[in-house]
Amino acid sequence: MSEQEKTKVMFVCRTAPYGTVYEQEAIEAMVMFGAYEQDISVSFVGDGVFSLKKGQDTALLGKKNFSMAYPILIDDFEISHIYVEKESLEERGLSGDDLMTEVEIVDRNSLKQKMNEMKALLPF
């Protein structure tokens, strides 16, 4: 399939992990979407950036640590891009070093441009 024919879809992840199931079910959707050879990207804005925080350990909660899926999304599941919004990181006292995986840290204006190019935006 040529690049032009691919549908551009972006997951916009705005929710912190564990307090609600949104981010966990967003990952489940990303993994499935990755199998269909479309142009899928993921952005983390607002509290969504907490999903990528290093060192998550859910043993005491008794919940599954679903964050382990993020590092393999790009390689194994054909997610084209993972963007993290710079301003949201800063506001939360985080930097790229605090994140568990290599991502593209972009500012709001750049992320906004990328959103404009999408056919569908799926907020989580």
Binding site: T15, Y18, G19, D47, D57, K63, N65, E91, R92, G93
Partner: protein, 100 residues
Amino acid sequence: MLHIIKKSPYESSALNDAVNYIGQNDDVVLLVEDGVYAAKKGGKFEALLRNLTQKNSVYCLLADIKARGIQENELAENIKVIDYKGFVEKVVEHNPMTWS
């Protein structure tokens, strides 16, 4: 009173709403679930928490900071960490109100 705060202060007014009702005397604050993000050092709410800890005890739940990858040394000053048994003790000591 024990003020239990469950939501992230970045996306919810729960913390700010609670702060309006935290008295001088023996009111105590417990951050749980996404509420623990308020306690992260370097975050936007560090100053508010610092103010709060001047007159009130502020606790956060160990299981919730660990799940979210926040180490104890990443917490703002004077925030105390407790486990579920500590949570129970606080409820025994103070009448609870949950802000979600």
